[in-house]
Protein backbone atom coordinates (compact mmCIF):
# COMPACT_ATOMS: atom_id res chain seq x y z
CA UNK A 1 0.00 0.00 0.00
CA UNK A 2 1.12 3.54 -0.75
CA UNK A 3 0.14 6.50 1.37
CA UNK A 4 0.65 10.18 0.63
CA UNK A 5 -0.64 13.53 1.80
CA UNK A 6 -2.44 16.42 0.19
CA UNK A 7 -1.21 18.96 2.75
CA UNK A 8 -3.18 21.98 1.50
CA UNK A 9 -6.59 20.30 1.92
CA UNK A 10 -8.73 20.25 5.08
CA UNK A 11 -7.28 17.59 7.41
CA UNK A 12 -10.15 15.10 7.06
CA UNK A 13 -9.34 14.88 3.34
CA UNK A 14 -5.60 15.20 3.51
CA UNK A 15 -4.44 11.56 3.64
CA UNK A 16 -4.64 9.22 0.69
CA UNK A 17 -4.03 5.48 0.90
CA UNK A 18 -3.84 3.48 -2.31
CA UNK A 19 -3.14 -0.14 -3.09
CA UNK A 20 -3.14 -2.40 -6.12
CA UNK A 21 -4.48 -5.97 -6.01
CA UNK A 22 -4.05 -8.52 -8.78
CA UNK A 23 -5.56 -11.98 -9.21
CA UNK A 24 -8.70 -10.78 -7.52
CA UNK A 25 -11.31 -13.47 -7.01
CA UNK A 26 -14.94 -13.31 -5.89
CA UNK A 27 -15.31 -9.81 -7.28
CA UNK A 28 -18.96 -10.61 -7.92
CA UNK A 29 -19.42 -11.14 -4.17
CA UNK A 30 -17.56 -7.89 -3.44
CA UNK A 31 -19.85 -6.01 -5.81
CA UNK A 32 -22.96 -7.47 -4.17
CA UNK A 33 -21.57 -6.63 -0.77
CA UNK A 34 -21.09 -3.00 -1.80
CA UNK A 35 -24.67 -2.77 -3.01
CA UNK A 36 -26.07 -4.33 0.15
CA UNK A 37 -23.91 -2.18 2.40
CA UNK A 38 -25.10 1.01 0.74
CA UNK A 39 -28.71 0.36 1.68
CA UNK A 40 -28.34 -1.64 4.94
CA UNK A 41 -29.90 -0.02 8.00
CA UNK A 42 -28.99 0.28 11.66
CA UNK A 43 -25.65 -0.36 13.28
CA UNK A 44 -24.97 -3.42 11.10
CA UNK A 45 -25.31 -1.15 8.09
CA UNK A 46 -22.92 1.37 9.60
CA UNK A 47 -20.37 -1.33 10.26
CA UNK A 48 -20.69 -2.80 6.80
CA UNK A 49 -20.29 0.60 5.16
CA UNK A 50 -17.21 1.20 7.27
CA UNK A 51 -15.71 -2.12 6.24
CA UNK A 52 -15.97 -1.28 2.54
CA UNK A 53 -15.40 2.47 2.83
CA UNK A 54 -13.03 2.56 -0.14
CA UNK A 55 -13.01 3.42 -3.79
CA UNK A 56 -12.75 0.10 -5.63
CA UNK A 57 -11.45 0.85 -9.10
CA UNK A 58 -11.11 -1.40 -12.14
CA UNK A 59 -7.31 -1.46 -12.50
CA UNK A 60 -7.24 -2.37 -16.18
CA UNK A 61 -8.66 1.07 -17.02
CA UNK A 62 -5.98 2.96 -15.10
CA UNK A 63 -3.14 4.00 -17.38
CA UNK A 64 -0.63 5.28 -14.81
CA UNK A 65 -0.15 6.32 -11.22
CA UNK A 66 -0.51 9.89 -12.41
CA UNK A 67 -3.92 9.00 -13.87
CA UNK A 68 -5.06 7.64 -10.52
CA UNK A 69 -3.63 10.56 -8.55
CA UNK A 70 -5.24 13.09 -10.83
CA UNK A 71 -8.67 11.50 -10.30
CA UNK A 72 -8.08 11.42 -6.54
CA UNK A 73 -7.02 15.06 -6.57
CA UNK A 74 -10.06 16.28 -8.47
CA UNK A 75 -12.40 14.22 -6.27
CA UNK A 76 -10.86 15.58 -3.07
CA UNK A 77 -11.01 19.10 -4.51
CA UNK A 78 -14.73 18.66 -5.24
CA UNK A 79 -15.29 17.34 -1.70
CA UNK A 80 -13.40 20.26 -0.17
CA UNK A 81 -15.47 22.75 -2.17
CA UNK A 82 -18.75 21.05 -1.35
CA UNK A 83 -19.09 20.23 -5.03
CA UNK A 84 -19.45 16.45 -5.04
CA UNK A 85 -21.59 15.11 -7.89
CA UNK A 86 -21.86 11.72 -6.21
CA UNK A 87 -22.50 10.63 -2.64
CA UNK A 88 -18.97 10.26 -1.33
CA UNK A 89 -15.45 11.32 -2.15
CA UNK A 90 -14.75 7.66 -3.02
CA UNK A 91 -17.51 7.35 -5.59
CA UNK A 92 -16.41 10.77 -6.85
CA UNK A 93 -13.01 9.29 -7.81
CA UNK A 94 -14.78 6.77 -10.00
CA UNK A 95 -16.96 9.48 -11.49
CA UNK A 96 -13.84 11.56 -12.21
CA UNK A 97 -12.29 8.69 -14.15
CA UNK A 98 -15.17 8.25 -16.56
CA UNK A 99 -15.22 10.61 -19.56
CA UNK A 100 -18.99 11.15 -19.47
CA UNK A 101 -21.18 12.64 -16.75
CA UNK A 102 -23.31 9.52 -16.40
CA UNK A 103 -22.85 8.23 -12.84
CA UNK A 104 -24.14 4.69 -13.32
CA UNK A 105 -22.03 4.28 -16.44
CA UNK A 106 -19.01 5.39 -14.43
CA UNK A 107 -19.72 2.80 -11.73
CA UNK A 108 -20.30 0.08 -14.32
CA UNK A 109 -17.06 0.78 -16.16
CA UNK A 110 -14.63 2.02 -13.54
CA UNK A 111 -16.09 0.41 -10.41
CA UNK A 112 -15.81 -3.23 -9.43
CA UNK A 113 -17.63 -5.62 -11.74
CA UNK A 114 -18.21 -9.38 -11.71
CA UNK A 115 -15.26 -9.90 -14.04
CA UNK A 116 -12.81 -7.62 -12.27
CA UNK A 117 -9.45 -9.37 -11.93
CA UNK A 118 -7.34 -6.54 -10.63
CA UNK A 119 -8.32 -3.65 -8.42
CA UNK A 120 -7.00 -0.30 -7.34
CA UNK A 121 -8.28 0.56 -3.89
CA UNK A 122 -8.28 4.09 -2.46
CA UNK A 123 -9.13 5.43 0.95
CA UNK A 124 -9.28 9.14 1.73
CA UNK A 125 -9.18 10.20 5.36
CA UNK A 126 -7.55 12.28 8.05
CA UNK A 127 -4.27 11.76 9.88
CA UNK A 128 -6.06 9.91 12.71
CA UNK A 129 -6.65 7.09 10.28
CA UNK A 130 -3.61 4.83 10.68
CA UNK A 131 -2.06 3.34 7.58
CA UNK A 132 -1.83 -0.13 9.11
CA UNK A 133 -5.53 -0.10 10.01
CA UNK A 134 -6.42 0.94 6.47
CA UNK A 135 -4.24 -1.78 5.03
CA UNK A 136 -5.78 -4.38 7.33
CA UNK A 137 -9.29 -3.34 6.29
CA UNK A 138 -8.33 -3.43 2.62
CA UNK A 139 -6.87 -6.90 2.95
CA UNK A 140 -9.99 -8.03 4.76
CA UNK A 141 -12.29 -6.72 2.04
CA UNK A 142 -10.43 -8.05 -0.99
CA UNK A 143 -9.45 -11.55 -2.05
CA UNK A 144 -6.37 -10.98 -4.16
CA UNK A 145 -2.63 -10.45 -4.24
CA UNK A 146 -1.23 -7.08 -3.31
CA UNK A 147 1.15 -5.80 -5.96
CA UNK A 148 3.43 -2.77 -6.40
CA UNK A 149 2.07 0.03 -8.59
CA UNK A 150 4.86 -0.66 -11.05
CA UNK A 151 2.73 -3.61 -12.16
CA UNK A 152 -0.06 -1.23 -13.25
CA UNK A 153 1.18 -0.81 -16.79
CA UNK A 154 1.10 -4.57 -17.45
CA UNK A 155 -2.53 -4.66 -16.40
CA UNK A 156 -3.80 -1.78 -18.51
CA UNK A 157 -6.29 -2.72 -21.20
CA UNK A 158 -5.33 -0.10 -23.77
CA UNK A 159 -8.04 -1.08 -26.22
CA UNK A 160 -10.75 -0.47 -23.62
CA UNK A 161 -9.15 2.80 -22.52
CA UNK A 162 -9.04 4.05 -26.10
CA UNK A 163 -12.63 2.99 -26.65
CA UNK A 164 -14.02 4.69 -23.56
CA UNK A 165 -12.12 7.89 -24.31
CA UNK A 166 -13.10 7.72 -27.99
CA UNK A 167 -9.51 7.94 -29.10
CA UNK A 168 -9.68 5.51 -32.01
CA UNK A 169 -9.81 8.12 -34.69
CA UNK A 170 -7.86 11.00 -33.17
CA UNK A 171 -5.02 12.43 -35.24
CA UNK A 172 -2.72 12.36 -32.24
CA UNK A 173 -3.20 8.60 -31.88
CA UNK A 174 -3.15 7.69 -35.55
CA UNK A 175 0.19 9.43 -35.91
CA UNK A 176 1.93 7.12 -33.46
CA UNK A 177 0.11 3.85 -34.12
CA UNK A 178 3.29 2.16 -35.35
CA UNK A 179 5.04 2.75 -32.06
CA UNK A 180 3.12 1.02 -29.24
CA UNK A 181 5.27 2.48 -26.48
CA UNK A 182 4.78 5.97 -27.82
CA UNK A 183 1.10 5.38 -28.38
CA UNK A 184 0.64 4.42 -24.74
CA UNK A 185 2.40 7.58 -23.61
CA UNK A 186 0.15 9.68 -25.83
CA UNK A 187 -3.01 7.89 -24.65
CA UNK A 188 -1.94 8.30 -21.04
CA UNK A 189 -1.29 12.00 -21.61
CA UNK A 190 -4.77 12.52 -23.05
CA UNK A 191 -6.45 10.41 -20.39
CA UNK A 192 -4.75 12.19 -17.49
CA UNK A 193 -5.63 15.57 -18.98
CA UNK A 194 -9.24 14.53 -19.55
CA UNK A 195 -9.58 13.54 -15.89
CA UNK A 196 -7.97 16.78 -14.72
CA UNK A 197 -10.36 18.96 -16.69
CA UNK A 198 -13.54 16.95 -16.38
CA UNK A 199 -15.14 19.55 -14.10
CA UNK A 200 -15.01 22.12 -16.88
CA UNK A 201 -15.59 19.89 -19.87
CA UNK A 202 -19.05 21.43 -20.30
Amino acid sequence: MQSYQLPHFPTHLSCVHTALYTDVSESDLLRKRLITASTAEGSTGERERDAVNFAFIEARLITSVEHLRTAVYQAVLAAAQGGLRTKTVHSEIIWALNPSNNISEAMRRYGVSDTTASLVVVRIGGPELLAEDVERDMDAAIKGIKAPFARLEDLTDWTAVKKYHKLGNEVGIREVKDNPERERAVVDGIVVSSVAMKSVMG
Partner: protein, 257 residues
Protein backbone atom coordinates in the same frame (compact mmCIF):
# COMPACT_ATOMS: atom_id res chain seq x y z
CA UNK B 1 -10.37 28.99 5.97
CA UNK B 2 -8.72 29.69 2.65
CA UNK B 3 -9.54 27.36 -0.19
CA UNK B 4 -7.31 24.38 -0.95
CA UNK B 5 -6.04 25.92 -4.16
CA UNK B 6 -5.11 29.17 -2.45
CA UNK B 7 -3.27 27.16 0.21
CA UNK B 8 -1.47 25.36 -2.55
CA UNK B 9 -0.44 28.66 -4.14
CA UNK B 10 0.71 30.16 -0.88
CA UNK B 11 3.30 27.39 -0.64
CA UNK B 12 4.33 27.59 -4.27
CA UNK B 13 7.16 29.46 -6.00
CA UNK B 14 6.11 32.46 -8.08
CA UNK B 15 7.56 32.24 -11.57
CA UNK B 16 6.01 35.21 -13.32
CA UNK B 17 3.13 37.65 -13.25
CA UNK B 18 1.22 38.87 -16.25
CA UNK B 19 -1.87 41.01 -16.69
CA UNK B 20 -4.08 37.96 -16.56
CA UNK B 21 -2.52 35.52 -14.18
CA UNK B 22 0.29 34.65 -11.86
CA UNK B 23 2.34 31.56 -12.62
CA UNK B 24 3.79 29.28 -9.96
CA UNK B 25 5.74 26.07 -9.66
CA UNK B 26 4.26 23.66 -7.12
CA UNK B 27 3.73 20.06 -6.07
CA UNK B 28 0.23 18.71 -5.66
CA UNK B 29 1.11 16.02 -3.14
CA UNK B 30 3.59 15.42 -0.35
CA UNK B 31 5.47 12.91 -2.51
CA UNK B 32 8.86 14.27 -3.58
CA UNK B 33 8.78 11.79 -6.46
CA UNK B 34 5.60 13.35 -7.88
CA UNK B 35 6.42 15.60 -10.82
CA UNK B 36 6.13 19.34 -10.30
CA UNK B 37 3.26 21.22 -11.90
CA UNK B 38 2.89 24.71 -13.22
CA UNK B 39 0.00 26.58 -11.62
CA UNK B 40 -1.64 29.39 -13.49
CA UNK B 41 -3.78 31.49 -11.20
CA UNK B 42 -6.24 33.91 -12.75
CA UNK B 43 -6.49 36.04 -9.66
CA UNK B 44 -9.49 38.16 -8.78
CA UNK B 45 -9.80 41.49 -10.49
CA UNK B 46 -11.03 44.04 -8.01
CA UNK B 47 -12.40 46.32 -10.69
CA UNK B 48 -14.82 43.72 -11.98
CA UNK B 49 -18.21 43.01 -10.45
CA UNK B 50 -17.67 39.81 -8.40
CA UNK B 51 -20.35 37.86 -10.24
CA UNK B 52 -18.95 38.84 -13.61
CA UNK B 53 -15.41 38.16 -12.44
CA UNK B 54 -16.35 34.70 -11.22
CA UNK B 55 -18.11 33.61 -14.37
CA UNK B 56 -15.40 35.04 -16.62
CA UNK B 57 -12.63 33.33 -14.70
CA UNK B 58 -14.48 30.05 -14.84
CA UNK B 59 -15.11 30.37 -18.55
CA UNK B 60 -11.49 31.23 -19.28
CA UNK B 61 -10.01 28.46 -17.21
CA UNK B 62 -12.38 26.06 -18.95
CA UNK B 63 -11.52 27.50 -22.35
CA UNK B 64 -7.80 27.14 -21.85
CA UNK B 65 -8.19 23.59 -20.55
CA UNK B 66 -10.37 22.61 -23.50
CA UNK B 67 -7.92 24.07 -25.99
CA UNK B 68 -5.08 22.09 -24.43
CA UNK B 69 -7.03 18.85 -24.51
CA UNK B 70 -8.05 19.48 -28.09
CA UNK B 71 -4.41 19.97 -29.01
CA UNK B 72 -3.36 16.81 -27.18
CA UNK B 73 -5.96 14.78 -29.02
CA UNK B 74 -4.80 16.25 -32.31
CA UNK B 75 -1.21 15.33 -31.57
CA UNK B 76 0.02 18.88 -31.01
CA UNK B 77 2.81 19.04 -28.44
CA UNK B 78 1.38 20.98 -25.53
CA UNK B 79 1.71 20.51 -21.78
CA UNK B 80 -0.79 18.08 -20.27
CA UNK B 81 -3.38 19.10 -17.69
CA UNK B 82 -2.91 18.12 -14.07
CA UNK B 83 -5.65 19.87 -12.11
CA UNK B 84 -8.40 22.38 -12.71
CA UNK B 85 -10.10 24.51 -10.09
CA UNK B 86 -12.41 26.75 -12.03
CA UNK B 87 -13.93 28.24 -8.87
CA UNK B 88 -10.62 29.73 -7.77
CA UNK B 89 -9.35 30.20 -11.31
CA UNK B 90 -6.43 27.82 -11.00
CA UNK B 91 -5.14 25.64 -13.79
CA UNK B 92 -2.44 23.07 -13.03
CA UNK B 93 -0.45 21.91 -16.02
CA UNK B 94 2.54 19.74 -16.71
CA UNK B 95 5.84 21.33 -15.77
CA UNK B 96 8.13 21.38 -18.76
CA UNK B 97 11.84 21.29 -18.19
CA UNK B 98 13.48 23.20 -20.95
CA UNK B 99 14.05 26.59 -22.48
CA UNK B 100 11.87 29.03 -24.37
CA UNK B 101 12.68 29.32 -28.06
CA UNK B 102 13.03 33.05 -27.62
CA UNK B 103 16.08 32.61 -25.44
CA UNK B 104 17.62 30.09 -27.79
CA UNK B 105 17.53 32.38 -30.81
CA UNK B 106 19.79 35.37 -31.44
CA UNK B 107 18.49 38.54 -29.82
CA UNK B 108 15.99 36.80 -27.58
CA UNK B 109 18.12 36.51 -24.49
CA UNK B 110 18.88 40.24 -24.51
CA UNK B 111 16.14 41.75 -22.41
CA UNK B 112 15.99 38.78 -20.16
CA UNK B 113 13.74 39.05 -17.14
CA UNK B 114 14.83 36.16 -14.99
CA UNK B 115 18.57 36.32 -15.00
CA UNK B 116 20.02 33.95 -17.58
CA UNK B 117 23.43 34.83 -16.21
CA UNK B 118 22.91 32.31 -13.43
CA UNK B 119 22.92 29.54 -15.99
CA UNK B 120 26.07 27.80 -17.04
CA UNK B 121 28.39 29.57 -19.47
CA UNK B 122 27.28 27.31 -22.32
CA UNK B 123 24.02 29.20 -22.25
CA UNK B 124 25.32 31.53 -24.92
CA UNK B 125 25.18 28.73 -27.43
CA UNK B 126 22.61 26.56 -25.81
CA UNK B 127 21.12 25.29 -29.03
CA UNK B 128 24.09 22.93 -28.88
CA UNK B 129 22.83 21.64 -25.59
CA UNK B 130 19.57 20.75 -27.27
CA UNK B 131 21.47 19.30 -30.22
CA UNK B 132 19.21 20.87 -32.79
CA UNK B 133 20.14 22.93 -35.86
CA UNK B 134 18.23 26.18 -36.27
CA UNK B 135 16.56 25.13 -39.52
CA UNK B 136 15.19 21.99 -37.89
CA UNK B 137 13.89 24.10 -35.02
CA UNK B 138 12.07 26.34 -37.50
CA UNK B 139 10.56 23.25 -39.13
CA UNK B 140 9.28 22.03 -35.78
CA UNK B 141 7.66 25.39 -35.14
CA UNK B 142 5.92 25.36 -38.51
CA UNK B 143 4.75 21.79 -38.01
CA UNK B 144 3.31 22.30 -34.55
CA UNK B 145 1.42 25.42 -35.58
CA UNK B 146 0.06 23.60 -38.62
CA UNK B 147 -1.12 20.68 -36.49
CA UNK B 148 -2.80 23.12 -34.14
CA UNK B 149 -4.51 25.00 -36.98
CA UNK B 150 -5.64 21.74 -38.56
CA UNK B 151 -7.44 21.10 -35.27
CA UNK B 152 -9.05 24.57 -35.58
CA UNK B 153 -7.32 25.88 -32.49
CA UNK B 154 -6.06 29.46 -32.78
CA UNK B 155 -3.36 30.25 -30.27
CA UNK B 156 -4.00 33.99 -30.15
CA UNK B 157 -0.57 34.96 -28.86
CA UNK B 158 2.09 33.16 -30.88
CA UNK B 159 5.54 34.42 -29.94
CA UNK B 160 8.89 32.71 -29.51
CA UNK B 161 8.34 33.10 -25.74
CA UNK B 162 5.33 30.85 -26.01
CA UNK B 163 7.27 27.92 -27.43
CA UNK B 164 9.65 25.71 -25.51
CA UNK B 165 12.18 23.04 -26.26
CA UNK B 166 12.14 20.16 -23.83
CA UNK B 167 15.46 19.58 -22.23
CA UNK B 168 16.96 16.34 -23.61
CA UNK B 169 17.59 15.03 -20.11
CA UNK B 170 13.95 15.34 -19.07
CA UNK B 171 12.39 13.58 -21.94
CA UNK B 172 12.34 10.32 -23.81
CA UNK B 173 12.42 11.20 -27.48
CA UNK B 174 10.39 9.27 -29.98
CA UNK B 175 12.36 10.75 -32.83
CA UNK B 176 15.29 8.81 -34.28
CA UNK B 177 17.66 11.75 -34.54
CA UNK B 178 16.16 14.46 -32.35
CA UNK B 179 16.66 14.54 -28.62
CA UNK B 180 14.23 17.33 -27.98
CA UNK B 181 10.68 18.32 -28.78
CA UNK B 182 8.97 21.64 -29.46
CA UNK B 183 6.08 22.42 -27.13
CA UNK B 184 3.54 25.21 -27.60
CA UNK B 185 2.55 26.84 -24.32
CA UNK B 186 0.24 29.51 -22.86
CA UNK B 187 -3.16 29.05 -24.43
CA UNK B 188 -4.65 31.86 -22.35
CA UNK B 189 -5.80 33.79 -25.42
CA UNK B 190 -6.63 30.81 -27.58
CA UNK B 191 -9.97 30.12 -29.16
CA UNK B 192 -11.66 27.74 -31.53
CA UNK B 193 -12.04 28.84 -35.14
CA UNK B 194 -11.92 27.37 -38.60
CA UNK B 195 -11.69 30.77 -40.28
CA UNK B 196 -8.82 31.41 -42.68
CA UNK B 197 -8.62 34.94 -41.36
CA UNK B 198 -7.95 33.79 -37.79
CA UNK B 199 -5.23 31.38 -38.88
CA UNK B 200 -3.58 34.02 -41.05
CA UNK B 201 -3.65 36.55 -38.21
CA UNK B 202 -2.16 33.92 -35.87
CA UNK B 203 0.77 33.54 -38.29
CA UNK B 204 1.08 37.28 -38.76
CA UNK B 205 1.33 37.80 -35.00
CA UNK B 206 4.21 35.32 -34.92
CA UNK B 207 5.90 36.98 -37.88
CA UNK B 208 5.79 40.30 -36.05
CA UNK B 209 7.12 38.67 -32.90
CA UNK B 210 10.03 37.21 -34.86
CA UNK B 211 10.95 40.50 -36.48
CA UNK B 212 10.64 42.53 -33.29
CA UNK B 213 12.54 40.08 -31.07
CA UNK B 214 15.11 38.47 -33.33
CA UNK B 215 17.11 40.70 -35.68
CA UNK B 216 17.49 39.54 -39.29
CA UNK B 217 15.09 36.69 -38.74
CA UNK B 218 13.30 36.86 -42.12
CA UNK B 219 14.90 33.65 -43.38
CA UNK B 220 14.02 31.95 -40.11
CA UNK B 221 10.38 32.84 -40.37
CA UNK B 222 10.41 31.84 -44.03
CA UNK B 223 11.40 28.31 -43.08
CA UNK B 224 8.69 28.24 -40.41
CA UNK B 225 6.20 29.04 -43.16
CA UNK B 226 7.64 26.43 -45.51
CA UNK B 227 7.16 23.71 -42.91
CA UNK B 228 3.71 25.05 -42.11
CA UNK B 229 2.79 25.02 -45.77
CA UNK B 230 3.88 21.39 -46.19
CA UNK B 231 1.90 20.25 -43.22
CA UNK B 232 -1.25 22.22 -44.07
CA UNK B 233 -1.45 20.80 -47.59
CA UNK B 234 -4.35 22.15 -49.62
CA UNK B 235 -5.46 24.51 -46.86
CA UNK B 236 -2.31 26.56 -47.31
CA UNK B 237 -3.27 28.33 -50.56
CA UNK B 238 -6.09 30.31 -48.98
CA UNK B 239 -4.26 30.97 -45.72
CA UNK B 240 -1.10 32.09 -47.54
CA UNK B 241 -3.07 34.46 -49.69
CA UNK B 242 -4.84 35.86 -46.67
CA UNK B 243 -1.55 36.25 -44.84
CA UNK B 244 -0.40 38.54 -47.66
CA UNK B 245 -3.57 40.60 -47.22
CA UNK B 246 -3.09 40.81 -43.47
CA UNK B 247 0.50 41.95 -43.95
CA UNK B 248 -0.64 44.71 -46.27
CA UNK B 249 -3.33 46.09 -44.06
CA UNK B 250 -1.42 45.40 -40.85
CA UNK B 251 -3.21 43.87 -37.93
CA UNK B 252 -3.55 47.27 -36.35
CA UNK B 253 -4.35 50.31 -38.32
CA UNK B 254 -1.95 53.21 -37.98
CA UNK B 255 -3.32 56.57 -37.04
CA UNK B 256 -3.56 58.65 -40.17
CA UNK B 257 -6.10 61.32 -40.85
Amino acid sequence: MASASLNLISGATLISQGAEAKVYKARLTSEPSDPAVLLKHRFRKGYRHPTLDGSLTRARVAGEARALLKCLRAGVNVPGLRMVDAVEGVLGIEWIDGQSVRKLLPGGAGEDEDGASEDDPEDADSLNEYDIPVDILMQLIGQEIAKMHLADVIHGDLTTSNMMLRHPSSFKSRHPTLSTELVLIDFGLSFHSSLIEDKAVDLYVLERAFSSTHPDSEPLFASVLTAYEQRMGKDWTAIGRRLDDVRLRGRKRSMVG
